[in-house]
């Protein structure tokens, strides 16, 4: 009964991070097999330093309060939860080469691969999302 969800994270803002990780953790909690392919700015979402203070979109800074009030978990917390529930993180090799970062710059437990690595997973996915 396992459903597969494939997500591409291509943007590096705080809102993007919530979209990606909320869907990913919710899917994993519903017994789905989940993989996220982090590419281009999406790599910020799992970068050890960057993911702790991802930027709000311009003009939306006032929402910081709202996030606190709604008791929304932080991105590092969501990342940890997602990994705990078995979500696969795939870092895009090509982007990493372009920006000159190694696997060690990112949270532990990620895989590094190219487009085909993701496509292999996504080819029979039931849900495919791009953020």
């Amino acid at each position: 009964m396992s459903t597969k969800t494939a997500i591409i994270a291509a943007n590096g803002g705080l809102f993007d991070a919530y979209k990606v990780f909320n869907i990913a953790t919710a899917a994993a909690a519903t017994d789905q097999e989940v993989a996220i392919f982090f590419t281009f700015e999406g790599l910020n979402l799992i970068h050890k330093e960057a993911y702790q203070q991802l930027p709000m979109p311009q003009g939306k800074e006032h929402l910081v309060e709202g996030f606190k009030k709604a008791n929304v978990p932080s991105i590092p917390e969501l990342v940890e939860m997602a990994q705990e529930m078995g979500v696969t993180f795939i870092g895009c090799q090509m982007t990493m080469d372009v920006i000159g970062l190694e696997k060690e710059a990112f949270v532990d437990g990620i895989e590094v691969g190219g487009a085909v690595t993701f496509l292999e997973f996504a080819k029979d996915a039931d849900v495919t999302l791009t953020f």
């Binding site: 909320n22 953790t25 909690a29 519903t30 017994d31 008791n71 978990p73």
Partner: protein, 183 residues
């Protein structure tokens, strides 16, 4: 409604109530009831959808001020246990009841359901308490186990079969279609 475990997810935003439910459900035994207390208004729809796709049974939600109390029953026993309980159809069972045979009937529904109407003389032990209260029953008796639709009664019969009860019958479907007398 009675529950075996309570999960406090009050004050947490989506997707945390679901994530916590998933983690807590892992530690429950099949057939046990989990109560999830949440203040996230989206949690009602989310938990219903979650139950549907994970196979657990959504029993309902009670509202208490700002707190939503959701009740879910853990699935999985039928596949996992593999103990086959003989079934008896409701019609055949009704004939026996009508003939005034001295039957031992075990009703494993929740207290609210039982109080709404049950077969006279039925012993009431809700599914969640069957394991610990099995001692109240006689192992030598022929016991007809009944619930609303026949699913919980199967779980209950499987639970007590493991304790050495040999003569168990699962009444199928159950009180849902019962046309006989109730009190």
């Amino acid at each position: 409604m009675e529950s075996n475990h309570v999960l406090d997810a009050k004050g947490l935003a989506c997707p945390m109530p679901i994530v916590k439910t998933k983690k807590t459900m892992k530690d429950l035994e099949p057939g046990e009831v989990l109560e999830i207390q949440a203040t996230d208004k989206g949690s009602t729809a989310d938990l219903q959808a979650w139950a549907k796709s994970t196979g657990h049974e959504y029993l309902g939600t009670e509202t208490e001020g700002d707190t939503l109390r959701h009740f879910l029953r853990k699935a999985g026993a039928i596949e996992a246990e593999g103990v086959v309980i003989p079934e008896i159809s409701l019609d055949e069972f009704k004939e026996k009841v009508d003939k005034n045979e001295n039957l031992t009937v075990l009703d494993v529904r929740e207290i609210e359901e039982y109080e709404e109407g049950h077969i006279e003389g039925a012993i009431h032990i809700p599914l969640g308490e069957v394991e610990q209260r099995a001692g109240e029953l006689d192992k030598e008796d022929v016991i007809y186990v009944i619930c609303h639709s026949g699913r919980r009664s199967e779980l209950a019969a499987q639970t007590i079969a493991k304790k050495g009860f040999k003569q168990l019958f699962n009444v199928v479907p159950g009180m849902r279609d019962w046309t006989g007398k109730t009190i």
